[in-house]
């Protein structure tokens, strides 16, 4: 060690250039790999997030459905009208209630309801929910049936 420290000889320019070139190449390789990794990671995270939002929407609506009381489901919300909303409704009136709507989907997600916007009587009928959830560039299609035990006669 002492010999090494007391050694006055440096490295040559060629050696330096070669070393820099090698380090640069390795750095580029690493950066590229990391960049691609992060990009995929973000995309995957968005996708997961979208899926989780879709699961949340289904769970919330299923809870609403299983209460057994009539409710109205529609496209709405602000901004941009890209939410699913639901409100308690009179079973006798199929028209849209004027008040009582609450958001089913969360902010930041764009949700488009493609199944019918209507009054649902859970003890008489199932509801086939079709909707598209998009978050940034990720998209997820919900296609499920909300069911509960129906009144028998």
């Amino acid at each position: 060690m002492r010999n090494y420290l007391k050694n006055n000889q440096g490295i040559t320019l060629v050696e330096l250039i070669a070393a820099l070139a090698l380090v640069s190449m390795v750095a580029i390789l690493i950066m590229t790999t990391l960049g691609i990794g992060f990009k995929h990671s973000i995309a995957e995270a968005n996708k997961t997030s979208t899926q989780q939002e879709a699961n949340l929407i289904v769970s919330k609506l299923l809870n609403e459905h299983r209460k057994g009381e009539c409710y109205f489901i529609k496209q709405g919300g602000s901004p941009n009208n890209l939410k699913i909303m639901a409100a308690p409704s009179l079973c006798t009136s199929p028209s849209e209630p004027t008040t009582g709507f609450k958001d089913i989907s969360s902010s930041g997600y764009n949700v488009t309801l493609t199944s019918a916007s209507k009054m649902i009587n859970p003890i008489k009928e199932d509801y086939t929910l079709v909707a598209e959830v998009s978050y940034k560039k990720a998209k997820y299609q919900i296609n499920t049936k909300l069911t509960r035990y129906k009144t028998t006669n």
Binding site: G37, N55, N63, Y149, T151, T152, N153
Partner: protein, 483 residues
């Protein structure tokens, strides 16, 4: 130390570090992915447990439904048998009443004994019907309780990880008397792995009810002859109102006339056929209280109900009586009457002191329950002629033939006049033999009255009894999914 101070092997170290770095990075991604998968699995398992519980609810409700279908059949049979037995009992009672026999003993339930007498038969039938309904309901409810108790807590396995279980319940079925509904509570727990979900269900069974009045059984001739006769002398839809002073105001219904010019009052009525007039004293109401000269009395097609205070209506002159229906709740004794045209005269007893010629008229003698009624003309040496389109109708159960004129006298009938007698007899003393179209014996009292143009619209058609018919039981299941 020498090894540490060695400068060789940096590349290996670098590579190892890089490997560790990348492995660490990918581990983060994998963990995130696993986390998401775990979430999905949790949701799935929870949903599976809910579905298992739903399956259990459906299984148990179907079980109960099958039991209730059998129970409905039993209930229907019980009700039909009980009601039919009651109809038989009621018919036996009516028959006894009709024949003036003592009511059969031992057919009333203790609860209804208080109504079981010849005067409260309808109330007794209603009471017995209620008792049957009560017994039916009690049977239904106790059977439901039995079925419910038989649903012992049970566990059904769908697969190695999934099962549902009927939970024991402390609450018994609840019966709502007003809506006739029994609420049967059920709690079923669905399980998958460690996830469990309990659903609370209420099965609402509506006990089948009777049909509407239109389908009820009507027990005919529930009134005894005595009651029927008594009702004939009361106007249909009777009331206590006094006739308005202006006859034009009396368009229909019943009223009591208190004036003294009944004949002109009847003539002034807008439609005398729709009005029934009640009077206490016919003589006073028509004209003359003391002499009772009612010659040429024209009723204009009206109906007069007379209830003499001393059970006897004595009329001095009733010549040329026409166009009137008279119901005299007592004995009608007429001193002078020569002819009557287009009348219906109904009384308990009848006595003529002069000869009488009836045309287009009905003379009806209904008598009394103690058979003291009479129809008499011969004792005063006179005769009666039932002539063109006329009928003389006599309730033989109400009159004493010994105090009556000889009905076998062939001179009674003339032209197409008819003698109609109720009921047919074996003992034919003082009675003429039946002659087709002329002397007719009838055995149905109400038909006899109708044949003689007596207004029977005030008679109840019978006492209606509820009948049990097939009906679909309303069964509804409510399931509470909780929070």
């Amino acid at each position: 130390m020498k090894y540490v101070n060695n400068h060789k092997g940096y590349a290996l170290l670098l590579v190892l570090l890089l490997v560790v770095f990348f492995v660490g990075l990918s581990a983060v991604f994998v963990a995130a992915s696993f986390n998401n998968a775990q979430q999905e699995r949790t949701v799935d398992v929870r949903n599976q447990s809910v579905v298992a519980a739903e399956m259990g609810i459906r299984y148990n409700i179907n079980n109960l439904l099958n039991e209730i279908k059998i129970l409905n059949q039993d209930y229907k049979n019980f009700m039909n048998t009980s009601l039919n037995t009651l109809v038989d009992k009621a018919t036996a009672v009516t028959t006894a009443k009709d024949n003036n026999l003592p009511l059969p003993t031992g057919i009333s339930t203790a609860a209804c004994n208080v109504f079981y007498s010849s005067t409260h038969i309808n109330a007794w039938i209603d009471c017995e019907t209620k008792e049957i309904e009560k017994a039916g309901l009690d049977m239904y409810i106790s059977e439901v309780n039995r079925v419910y108790t038989d649903l012992a807590p049970q566990e059904n396995r769908i697969d190695s990880k999934t099962k549902y279980e009927l939970m024991p319940l402390a609450i018994n079925p609840v019966f709502n008397e007003v809506s006739r509904q029994i609420e049967i509570p059920l709690a079923v727990q669905g399980k998958q792995n460690t996830s469990a979900k309990t659903l609370n269900a209420t099965l609402i069974v509506t006990i089948p009810d009777h049909t509407s009045e239109s389908n009820d059984i009507v027990i005919k001739t529930i009134l005894s002859e005595k009651e029927t006769v008594d009702r004939i002398f009361i106007p249909p839809n009777d009331n206590t109102s006094i006739c308005p002073a202006e006859a034009s105001a009396m368009t229909s219904g019943v009223c009591k006339y208190t004036g003294t010019s009944l004949e002109s009052y009847l003539a002034s009525l807008p439609d005398p056929s729709k009005v029934s007039i009640k009077v206490d004293d016919l003589c006073y109401a028509v004209e003359d209280k003391t002499k009772c000269n009612l010659n040429s009395l024209d009723g204009s097609g009206g109906t007069v109900y007379i209830k003499p205070s001393n059970q006897t209506l004595n009329v001095d002159n009733l010549n040329n009586l026409q166009d009137i229906s008279m119901y005299v709740d007592g004995d009608l004794i007429i001193k002078n009457s020569n002819s009557a045209d287009n009348n219906t005269i109904v009384s308990r007893s009848y006595s003529f002191h002069v000869s009488m010629n009836l045309t287009n008229s009905n003379l009806v003698v209904l008598g009394n329950v103690n058979k003291t009624g009479y129809i008499d003309w011969k004792s005063t040496g006179q005769s009666v002629t039932v002539s063109t389109n006329s009928k003389m109708c006599i309730n033989l159960n109400g009159i004493n033939l010994a105090n009556s004129s000889d009905l076998t006298d062939p001179s009674i009938l003339s032209n197409n006049g008819k003698l109609i007698l109720y009921p047919g007899r074996i003992d034919m003393v003082k009675l003429p033999a039946a002659v087709e179209g002329k002397i007719i014996y009838m055995n149905d009292f109400v038909a006899f009255l109708n044949e003689c143009n007596v207004n029977t619209s005030g008679l109840p058609e019978g006492h209606s009894m509820k009948q049990f018919i097939d009906s679909t039981t309303e069964i509804e299941a409510k399931v509470d999914y909780g929070k």
